[in-house]
Symmetry: C2
Subunit: 511 residues, 2 copies
């Protein structure tokens, strides 16, 4: 081996070792959310904190720096001449590792520890405050978190807007300047669509979804759908947790969770399909690159595109239910005796402005995200103070969705994100929806038989298309490059608005 490949191989080995610590920490977190006895919390927090600190320290160490910097042109952040013998994927690995390294390196270790501690504290206080419907209890912690986010931006620096640095954490390369017009167009389209729905002649009856459905039968059906999606249970599990999530310790061990409410059929079902989409991405990452950016999901937006594509483009489609509704009816013959596949499909696509984002339908969901996106910009722009957030929330809810929460628990306190400092995270949900529509439209073009496959319960063609087009590339391309590569287009709201409008025209019978 040459010096170049030697050093590069060693860098890979070190990165993999650091990843083992992150993977171990993820196992501990999964356990905490699923099976850990209630008394185990404080010890678990210390174990996780230690693993994360070790991983951070090892990553920003001179070891990594000395292996990485010789390959990098610091002005561009790209691989330099020394890397000329390496292939494009390896150069991308260097570029992305450098991105992570230089960001992490800018944050002093004691700042990272402090942020971790304050977030952990704030999450507890947030949970209590939400429980008690008491925003002022959480306000001081939120202020602390916001101050720490300003400090973070100070360390990392920013271009144009401090908020861009936060966005960049979750969706590399995205900016306020790019998102604001995109979201504006989306808002126009959604508000007008919502208006059409309100005035539509037909309104589906979704009460059938909220009868009593047996807990275990719901889970079994979720497992069935996951299996048909190609989610590999020899490399994964489905468990129950308070909030559904997906976690991965390696492409050979990717776990999803769901929750089950006996009186809410869509909850477990949609969670299974949604998390299954995330899970397929993680199972589809190349194991030989595990621990490096080439073995890692590209961004939260792309990740969410996978879950939303399955949950909405597939799991709320007429085609999907053609195959799956009879199976569901077999399991719940009493509940669905008088329901047709058309009726069920319509029920699954009911639109109704509501207070809680995670329960929102496909049309109003992005309006919830916009409320948060705008408030975050106001907070980071220092145009609003923490104490005024509950009012601002109500105003924007009224403005976007036409409804106002009576309780802060159903308003500004509903999401966990701010309590762990995740400002800049929410927009990735909407990006996921927009990407999903673009990708699914393209998949139908690339695989002309796709819909007839789905109608026969064969979901593997879609899974394989996603494996090939998205999953196997890890972080080799930027989001922009990847979407361009796959669809030939740049990010836009049109495919999303168009396909959603078509579906709503079918369900609500307007033109």
């Amino acid at each position: 081996m040459s010096d170049t490949t030697n050093g590069f191989a060693l860098l890979n080995t070190k990165l993999r070792e650091i990843q083992h610590l992150r993977d171990a920490s993820a196992v501990l977190s999964w356990d905490q959310e699923t099976y850990m006895p209630s008394g185990g919390g404080p010890a678990r927090a210390e174990q996780i904190a230690l693993l994360q600190t070790l991983a951070h320290d090892k990553f920003v160490s001179a070891d990594i720096e000395n292996l990485l910097t010789p390959y990098i042109d610091p002005t561009t952040g790209l691989a330099n001449d020394k890397a000329s013998g390496l292939d494009d994927a390896s150069k991308a690995l260097l570029r992305e590792t450098w991105r992570d390294f230089s960001r992490a390196k800018k944050l002093p270790s004691d700042f990272v520890t402090k942020l971790g501690r304050e977030c952990s504290l704030a999450q507890q206080v947030w949970a209590e405050a939400r429980q008690e419907n008491n925003f002022s209890k959480f306000a001081p912690n939120l202020q602390t978190i916001i101050d720490l986010k300003f400090e973070e931006v100070d360390y990392i620096g920013y271009i144009d807007s401090p908020y861009n640095t936060l966005l960049d954490t979750y969706e590399p390369g995205s900016t306020v300047a790019q998102l604001n017009p995109l979201f504006l167009r989306l808002r126009e389209g959604l508000v007008s669509l919502l208006e059409n729905i309100r005035n539509a002649p037909a309104h589906p009856d979704d009460r059938i979804l909220y009868q009593s459905y047996d807990h275990d039968q719901q889970l079994e059906f979720g497992k069935l759908v996951l299996t048909k999606m190609g989610y590999d249970f020899t490399r994964g599990r489905l468990d129950v947790s308070a909030h559904p999530f997906t976690t991965s310790f390696h492409p050979t061990d990717v776990r999803v969770t769901t929750r089950v409410f006996e009186k809410d059929l869509p909850s477990c079902l949609s969670s299974c399909i949604h998390e299954g989409g995330h899970g397929l991405y993680e199972q589809g990452l190349p194991p030989e690159h595990h621990g490096t950016p080439l073995g890692e999901a590209l961004s939260l937006g792309i990740h969410e595109s996978q879950s939303r594509l399955w949950e909405n483009c597939v799991g709320r489609s007429r085609t999907f239910w053609e195959y799956f509704f009879p199976l569901l009816k077999n399991r719940f013959p009493n509940q669905l005796k008088y329901t047709s596949v058309e009726g069920f499909y319509a029920a699954m696509n009911t639109v109704k402005p509501s207070l809680i984002r995670v329960e929102a339908d496909e049309v109003t969901y992005n309006l919830h995200v916009m409320v948060r996106f705008e408030i975050e910009q106001d907070v980071i722009g220092q145009w609003v103070s923490v104490k005024d957030l509950p009012d601002l929330w109500r105003t924007k809810m009224k403005d976007y969705l036409g409804i106002v929460p009576e309780r802060d628990a159903d308003g500004v306190l509903q999401d966990v994100h701010w309590s762990f400092g995740a400002f800049g995270y929410f927009p990735t949900y909407t990006l996921g929806n927009l990407y999903a529509a673009m990708l699914f439209t393209q998949a139908k073009t690339d695989v002309p038989e796709l819909e007839s496959h789905i109608a026969q319960g064969n979901l593997l063609a879609l899974k394989e298309w996603l494996n090939d087009r998205i999953h196997r590339h890890g972080r080799q391309y930027t989001s922009e490059e990847l979407i361009k590569r796959v669809t030939g287009k740049t990010l836009s709201a049109e495919p999303f608005l168009q396909t959603l409008t078509e579906k709503m025209q079918e369900v609500y019978q307007f033109t």
Copy 2:
């Protein structure tokens, strides 16, 4: 704080941090045995190996050495004058930490890695060899492990016999010179007891235990008994695994597992009670000392005494079943319709020489251990070669138990221990039995109401006695000191032989 207490406090902090790594590794192992999908094995092995290497490296680091050595007289291994301001428990902490440190320090890091790798490999080969009933497949790996154990003894050194160094790993302070006469006396007693049983007028009928018993009902009953034992489910769990075990990540998170065979009632039941005994020990360790020897179980023998005390002295007693048999009968009315508490108690104490140690009854169990103890001494004394072990096994089984395995899978290949290098481990099972009898005898003296409590299903008095006498001390005393402190006696086989003989006289009706 003085320099002394400062340095001592810092040592404690560092030890605790190392423990977090070990605890994290234990979580990963628990997950591997319970919920990990089958594909996750290789990645998991790497995660665990890294955590263990990190823990080892941190423990033998100059950091620990510099904090520890100033307090230690290296000729005695005890705390020196610098520690004179500290209390006895703290001095014991220093003594035991030094014991661990000086042992660990003697093993070169690459030896530890190599041993770990070879053991991991050997375990896989062993499992296949047992499956295929093919000892010669496993023999080369076993030879490698044995060679590595010799190397280990070379690094650590030994007094009188190399085997003493291996014994000392699991039961600090125990030696061949101490164990051989003890085991000889035990053998005499057991062989004569077995003879009496063979010739006894009454033989219990245990077929009722092997009817069909519902899986979930068995688990529920196991949980009930654990709860009555005072096993705290807010700080623990019961799960199912291929082989029952107990693991702890902190006294606030101690988990036990069992296995369930529908046609074998005692298996799940005894495992639950046995692991519950281990679990109570771990839950009873002082949390404020977690990570230091004061927060750690004393030895494998003492650990086993806790499981055996509950499993046999309690769980196979007439008194215990007085309360629990009616509850069991409620759950399994069809199976136990015609069975009295006397009949059930007798069935649970049936003695029958059999091939498999883990399925052995209370009388023959220790004979199984002796077979292994003697073979290990032969191996480490180099008086037998690996290829001759299957024959030696058969000879000794014939000699001790009067039966001979036809297949090596039921003979020399049955236990996992040698495949992971655990030579010197088996005797602790017998020590556990002997300690258990001594402790339970003492408990009945100290708490005169104990048996009437048990007969009423109140097991907490015993749990609290064990908490006070054994659990809370961690490794403050040596096994010898602890047993002397609690019972006023030194280790002997008599209490075990006496109580077992009394029970067998009752069950088999001889005098």
